[in-house]
């Protein structure tokens, strides 16, 4: 096509640059400065989509963010495809590929439009009323089919290939909207030296003035002044989509989207999280459609949008127009179009006797005006072809042929962001609209967003806002007379049941739907909204909410302020998810924590598992070993010889100060006062409710210094809990806490030959059994490095845990591995660690316990310091409700009748597998492994009154069968503990 609707002169487009693009595969051209919508109109294309519910043909209604109809999918391939973009906001770029949505097979011939002919079956809330029979047919038959027909665009079929940037920013004044009010506000604020951010969704600043050629000199002057301020950050192509608490505003800045994301190296867009001392919303106003029968045909558009297409984009939106209005502003549009060569067939004004300069100008141009008149219907299939015009109340109508209808019901201030900020809206009866009232945040509305209608008033209110936001005196506002327009369904004299006058174009809600909801008893506007879905589409009712309110108001005879309005929520316009994900994708989604020994383990072919944010070596397969084979070999090596294990992820806390022991007395269940320096103790930490939250070995390094270990996942939680008690409860204690988790690499050497392996590497300490018994600690040197050497075991074997400064972890590990070669040392992973500890009945907090286990439940009563007056959880354990319970779940061992059967962790235990469902559940399996040492399966379980049931047989019900298990003591291996003393 040849842009046959492009005007020869005027507009802000660059005719020297021709921009090719395709729409539904059809090649067209536009010019630099076009939006997709203006370029389509230049090519005579109005039909751009099919509606959500009825699949009615729809055209471009607006020229901005409020567009309800012209939703398109854009992108050169699936990785760059974005659905549901408003064609009125998509800047045209070379090679842009756009497609229409919600049509099969084509826009012109859409099989889904069958729903339009069946529209009487789809009234408001139809899914509550019809398609209810036969039972079950809704979910199985009707709903899937209706859902397939209804809808917006499709999801892209490939992951988003674009990059997204993010930034936090701070400013004194954030001005949202760079129209006349926003420009004036930003300049007034910047003059004081304040840090100002000025953002606007358009590629150029100017707002509504971009469509006012007569104001281009003023606009150029303001832009030049802006450029002179280094303290103004200017953000064009940036949508303020969300107003969050304490004046944090979310902005989505288009960086390369408008160029078609030519390089994946440059981010597509940037999310700004701006914290502003003051916010000025200069977001303009949105023109309201008029609600008349069949007001949704392609070619029917807002009057101001049509004028914008003429003045800014130099596009003639049609050849012969009828203008339908209740507001003077549409007369300006009529004159603009007339001067651009569009025949104005009629101006139809709902008002009885409108007067004013706009009308005078139209009369001067010789345009035919019919007052006190209305449009009672339209014709045309894929484009409007004619309208029927009648005097209000009269029966006979005049048919006027046209290919374009302009409509204007007046203007609604854009209060979305103000409303999001939880400011109270006020109803302005002169405007028939809500305007910002009492703010909840430091925020000021300016310009048309605050109800101004004249340019002078907008500029003055913007300047006042800028001065006020920076604490300066403000002049009195410019007085002006504003005009309201029309709300609700226009009078048309036709049977309301047989016409469809659309209120919400995007969700296909008609005036009849709303009156039906009222007839069915809905009164709250929030209920009417949910029942009819008016205002619930992706445009949040930008063009429809006030008309819906008008219909409710007139039907119920209740003034609009008494009905109230619905709540606007973020985002103002839809924002791609990528903006929110930002950099947090792939490997950067979250920290991947690796120990100092990780690289060694990776080189050995270890298989890793995730433990909180850590990567831990799970097992070290040799050759083609399976996990089962590798773990069996590693277990056997530790039991018979010696194994090497990376325990670096254990949480570590250094507790220092003269009251350190007393602090531990109050935190842990154990008694610490008598623990001598150089000795270790297994500590149990409860929450205040008496349930186990963590455990770990604690070493006393000196009278006033303890080395506390926690579980891997509990490290941060435990330190926070300790700080809480120290800072807020036990404030009498002189104690300090420092996380040392990452200060040390921790190398566990476990097995009967552990001492032989490390002895040659130890300096400055005697580690003989006599000098260094089980549960002791010594500061020494290992492999030439200062170390805290713990003699401790989580395997039941003779064992050591060597804490060395992390940078030395790998070197010490390798030295031990080297020294252990003659002893057959093997590295082992977390899976083997789990098996070995389960063989010994050692619990893992979070596996045997689930936040509801007391020390007694898991057989650890022995650890409690009974003489202590207080420790966290002590009082709760003494509560009668807890202490008197007789059927609490207790830790036991399980042996399956078939030694080869390894139970599923989490499986339930019952007494009678033949009991009908629901069965009486007595407990559950917490740990289950194959034990190489015992050559059979073992399991740990929490079972009601379990210790008294030892010896009994219970059953694990499984699909189609059950497994008999015998309850045993939880210690399966070396119950005397003799091996620890090796």
């Amino acid at each position: 096509m040849t842009q046959k609707y492009r005007l020869a002169t005027g507009g802000l487009i660059d005719r020297r640059v021709t921009v090719p693009f395709t729409f539904d595969g059809k090649a067209m051209t536009g010019h630099a400065g076009d939006t997709l919508a203006s370029a389509l109109l230049a090519n005579g294309v109005h039909l751009v989509g099919r509606s959500f519910k009825y699949h009615r043909p729809r055209g471009i209604v607006s020229a901005g963010a409020e567009e309800p109809n012209a939703l398109v999918g854009v992108g050169r391939d699936e990785g760059h495809y974005t659905p549901n973009l408003r064609a009125t906001q998509v800047e045209l770029y070379h090679g842009l590929r756009a497609e229409s949505q919600n049509r099969t097979p084509s826009l012109e011939r859409d099989v889904g439009s069958i729903t339009d002919r069946l529209w009487r079956f789809f009234p408001a809330g139809f899914y509550y009323k019809t398609f209810m029979w036969p039972k079950g047919a809704w979910t199985k038959f009707f709903e899937p089919r209706i859902r397939a027909i209804a809808g917006l665009g499709r999801s892209p079929a490939a992951p988003d290939a674009a990059r997204y940037a993010q930034i936090y920013a701070h400013c004194d004044v954030l001005v949202i909207g760079a129209g006349p009010a926003g420009l004036s506000a930003a300049l007034a604020a910047a003059e004081t030296g304040a840090r100002v951010i000025l953002c606007d969704e358009q590629p150029q600043f100017g707002g509504a003035l971009l469509a006012e050629p007569g104001q281009s000199a003023w606009l150029a002057e303001q832009r030049a002044r802006l450029a002179g301020f280094a303290n103004i950050t200017m953000l064009p192509r940036t949508i303020a989509f969300g107003y969050f608490p304490h004046n944090m505003i979310g902005l989505a800045q288009d960086l390369t989207d408008h160029q078609g994301e030519t390089s994946d190296d440059a981010p597509r867009g940037r999310l700004w999280q701006v914290r502003a001392k003051q916010v000025i919303t200069a977001t303009g106003a949105i023109e309201r459609p008029l609600v008349f029968p069949d007001n949704d045909r392609p070619g029917i558009m807002l009057a101001d949008a049509a004028r914008t297409y003429v003045e800014r984009y130099a596009v003639k939106p049609g050849n012969r127009a009828v203008v339908f209005t209740a507001h003077d502003d549409a007369y300006r549009a009529a004159v603009s179009l007339h001067e651009a060569g569009v025949t104005i067939a009629a101006i139809v004004d709902l008002r009885e006797s409108p007067e004013g300069p706009c009308l005078d100008a139209a009369r001067a141009a010789g345009l035919p005006i019919r007052t006190h008149a209305t449009i009672i219907g339209t014709e045309g299939n894929l484009r409007v072809a004619a309208v029927s015009v009648a005097t209000i109340g009269a029966a006979n109508a005049e048919r006027i042929a046209c290919d374009l209808v302009l409509m204007s019901g007046g203007f609604t201030p854009s209060v979305h962001l103000f409303s999001q900020s939880r400011g109270k809206l006020a109803f302005d009866p002169a405007l028939d609209a809500f305007i910002p009232g009492t703010p909840a945040e430091p925020t000021i509305a300016a310009g048309a967003a605050s109800g101004c209608q004249s340019l002078e008033a907008a500029i003055a209110s913007g300047r006042a806002a800028g001065l006020s936001a920076t604490g300066q005196a403000v002049a009195a506002p410019v007085a002006e007379t504003v005009a309201a327009g029309f709300l609700g369904e226009v009078p048309h004299g036709r049977d309301p049941a047989s016409v469809r006058a659309f209120v919400d174009f995007q969700n296909d809600v008609t005036a009849k739907d709303i009156t039906l909801a009222l007839a069915e008893g809905f009164r709250s506007i929030e209920h009417v909204k949910r029942y009819t879905t008016t205002g619930m589409a992706t445009d949040q009712g930008k063009t429809s909410n006030m008309n819906a309110l008008g219909i409710v108001s007139k039907s119920l005879g209740v003034p609009i302020p008494s009905i109230g309005t619905t709540t606007f929520r973020m985002p103002y316009t839809p924002i791609p998810f990528g903006y929110f994900a930002g950099y947090a994708r792939g490997d950067l989604f979250e920290p991947v924590r690796e120990t100092p020994i990780h690289a060694w383990a990776a080189e050995q072919g270890a298989v890793f598992e995730d433990v909180s944010l850590w990567k831990r070596a799970r097992y070290f397969p040799r050759g083609a070993e399976t996990m089962h084979e590798a773990v069996a070999r590693e277990c056997a090596a530790v039991r018979a010889g010696v194994g090497l294990f990376d325990a670096s992820t254990l949480g570590k806390i250094e507790i220092t100060g003269p009251d350190a022991a007393e602090f531990l007395n109050r935190m842990y269940v154990n008694a610490w006062t008598k623990l001598k320096p150089g000795r270790l103790r297994y500590g149990i930490l409860l929450r205040e409710d008496g349930f186990i939250i963590d455990d770990g070995v604690v070493g006393r390094i000196a009278d006033d210094r303890f080395h506390v270990t926690t579980t891997t996942g509990g490290a941060a939680r435990v330190l926070n809990m300790m700080e809480d008690y120290l800072q807020t409860e036990f404030t009498d204690l002189k104690v300090w806490l420092t996380s040392t988790t990452e200060q040390y690499a921790v190398i566990a050497v476990q097995g009967p030959r552990a001492r032989e392996v490390i002895a040659p590497l130890v300096e400055d300490a005697d580690i003989s059994a006599a000098a260094m018994p089980h549960m002791s600690v010594v500061e020494c040197r290992v492999a030439g490095v200062p170390a805290r050497l713990f003699r401790v075991s989580f395997t039941g074997e003779l064992g050591f845990e060597i804490n060395v400064p992390a940078d030395y972890g790998r070197a010490v590990w390798e030295a031990i591995d080297q020294a252990g070669q003659t002893h057959g040392i093997v590295p082992y992973g977390t899976e083997t660690m789990h098996v070995l500890r389960a063989e010994k009945g050692y619990i893992i907090v979070g596996q045997e316990t689930d936040g509801t286990a007391t020390p007694d439940d898991v057989g650890l009563t022995w650890a409690i310091g009974k003489a202590k007056p207080d420790f966290v959880g002590k009082r709760a354990l003494a509560r009668t409700a807890l202490a008197s319970q007789t059927d609490r779940k207790q830790l036991v061992g399980l042996l399956t009748a078939d030694p080869a059967e390894v139970l599923e962790e989490g499986a339930h235990l019952v007494a009678d597998p033949a009991q009908p469902i629901p069965m009486t559940m007595l407990g559950h399996v917490t740990s289950s492994y194959w034990s190489a040492a015992l050559n059979r399966s073992i399991a740990l379980a929490m079972v009601r009154n379990g210790r008294a049931r030892i010896g009994e047989t219970l059953h694990v019900p499984l699909p189609g069968r059950s497994v008999a298990v015998t309850l045993t003591d939880p210690v399966f291996y070396d119950p005397e503990g003799a091996r620890l003393d090796g």
């Binding site: 304490h246 944090m248 926070n720 404030t731 409700a881």
Partner: protein, 87 residues
């Protein structure tokens, strides 16, 4: 994201802080009945409006402190150090 005024560091963004539940809940394990201890463990006033609560500047100075926040508006009335009386 809220702005929270740490009594030590001044205004800082909410994500540096961790929440610590209701403030001024007295822990007195030695002298309470079972019912009182149960209330200490599980019952909070959950006030609509002005609410005394604890925060920790976890990713800052590390200090716990008390605050009064209006749970309807989300605005803070004041923050004050542990052991200090509210203004």
């Amino acid at each position: 994201m809220l702005v929270i005024s740490c009594p030590y560091c001044g205004d800082r963004p909410e994500i540096e802080f961790s929440y610590g539940g209701e403030a001024h809940v007295v822990r007195a394990p030695a002298s309470v009945t079972d019912e009182e201890w149960t209330a200490f463990l599980y019952q909070r006033s959950n006030a609509r409006g002005s609410y005394a609560e604890r925060w920790r500047h976890a990713h800052g100075c590390g200090r716990f402190f008390n605050a009064r926040r209006n749970t309807v508006t989300d605005f803070f009335e004041q923050t004050y150090k542990i052991g200090e009386a509210p203004a």
